[in-house]
């Protein structure tokens, strides 16, 4: 008699996520004009990235859009040297960056950084260090149309 203990199985479901008008506006400016734009709350002045249609503090529509700076300051980061299923191939570095003019930080890859020595790379990515936004030449209208690089 065979030794029966487990049954293999899996889920595979595809989605098409609607971005909403705010997302469409953000990604259109990113793709067409290579600009990072963000909605600003008319009441408290909070410039929100990732963009949101309403100020989540004042509950008023955030319909004034501003362009934020192409540089910013690292607020936190990590470096991933191991492979996780279906996630990007290691090593990769990601950082939350407060872009100049924004009120909240946004995450993206930090590229063009040698990650061979993880401790050394971590020192370079320290909180407070400056990065610039680098736009891809061929943009598809996704958040990966840009990344950060250390200045």
């Amino acid at each position: 008699m065979g030794h029966i203990e487990t049954l293999p199985g899996g889920w595979s479901v595809e989605y098409h996520y609607a971005m909403g008008p705010t997302g469409v506006k953000f990604f259109t400016a990113l793709k067409e004009e290579a600009k990072i734009t963000a909605p600003k709350c008319p009441k408290c002045g909070l410039v929100m990235l990732p963009p949101r249609s309403f100020c989540e503090r004042c509950f008023v529509e955030a319909d004034q859009w501003v362009e934020v700076g192409a540089e910013g300051t690292i607020q936190s980061f990590t470096i991933v040297p191991v492979k996780f299923e279906s996630l990007p191939d290691p090593p990769y570095a990601v950082a939350y960056v407060l872009l100049d003019g924004a009120g909240t930080a946004m995450v993206n890859f930090v590229k063009n950084l040698d990650l061979t020595d993880i401790r050394e790379a971590a020192r370079k990515l320290a909180i407070g260090n400056r990065v610039r936004v680098v736009f891809e030449k061929e943009r598809k209208g996704t958040i990966q149309d840009f990344h950060y690089e250390l200045i």
Partner: protein, 386 residues
Amino acid sequence: MRQRSAIVGVGQTPYRSHQNFTIPELSQQAAFQALEMAGMTMDDIDAIVYSMGPSQFLGVNEPDKWCVDAIGGRHKSFMRIHTGGATGASAAQAGFYHVASGLFNTVLVVGADKVRECKDSQQVLNTIWDPFYERQFGLTTITMAAFQAVRHMYLYGTTEEQMALVAVRSWENALSNPVAHLKGKISVDDVMKSLYYCWPIKKYDTCPSSAGGAAVVIASEEIVRKSGRKPAWIRGCSEFANTVFLGDQMGGMAQVDFADSDILAMAAAEAYRQAGIREPAREIRVAEMYAPFTLCELPMVEALGFCRKGGSGRLNEEGFFNRDGRVAVNPSGGTLCTNAIAVAALARICDGCCRSWVWRRRGCRSRMTAMPCARARGDRSSFTPS
């Protein structure tokens, strides 16, 4: 509150990487244990709260339906609670509300998980992040812990070695916990030399993916008095949610700092108010908390008022949080040694109650409070002094 309520029975299966039982079977094993301790049978239970996190770990959708019969839910009030890592605490909170409201006199809170039956739990956890702006960057719960660690290190000078000490203490504590998944004597050096998963989080800074079940029985004061069983009274319970965007919690116009567990501090303040606790570090002897990574524990003990912000790393070195220290933190080994996600926070409540009962049996006279708490994505926090 219509009536006082107490936990009168707890149950946990042993936890390990794999279990050759189904989820209904594991749930039932935990339920039977809790009922036995409470001196009850399924017939004595008015309502059931099923503690179940993301279905994708199991690959069975709506697993609560799968378990209705096994845990005595047929033809009874039955609901599933799911709040991510906080699930088990939220389920107990729902059970507490069931009884405190006066709607029910006996509630069984039960659940089980087998996180490792899916190939990679982090593949599932990555889908917590929104698909447009964050998910594409390989974010996981490990990177989330790393982002917090980096800020805690930056603001307070916390070191990787101080984080490592949390693992050393937790693993040693787990040696006396018969159901703990990981346990043993490890050194700071072992932790420091272990593989980086997401800098500065290393293998030993990280919880395991565990399989197992947990349950508690919550009863009204009337039932407790009749049963003659030793109760763990629920004296306070509170939880708050926070923004899902981590970037809203660092620099700029942030209202709280992601380095800290300020939302837990808010929940704690409310629960302390309910319980009449004024000086947590003097009045609370043990804290069981949902800290799946070493670093998470440090801002949490600060948020719970055991020390000032940034002070936990040093106190941890001095043994303040050891079993024989001022406040025993995770004397069970905690979530760092055992993480069956759907019931990890419920396990904290089981372990907190057991610790409280053991001390009472030893005749300790001082006022003792065991306090489980939980925390998950979005900094949702809940806890229940008992």
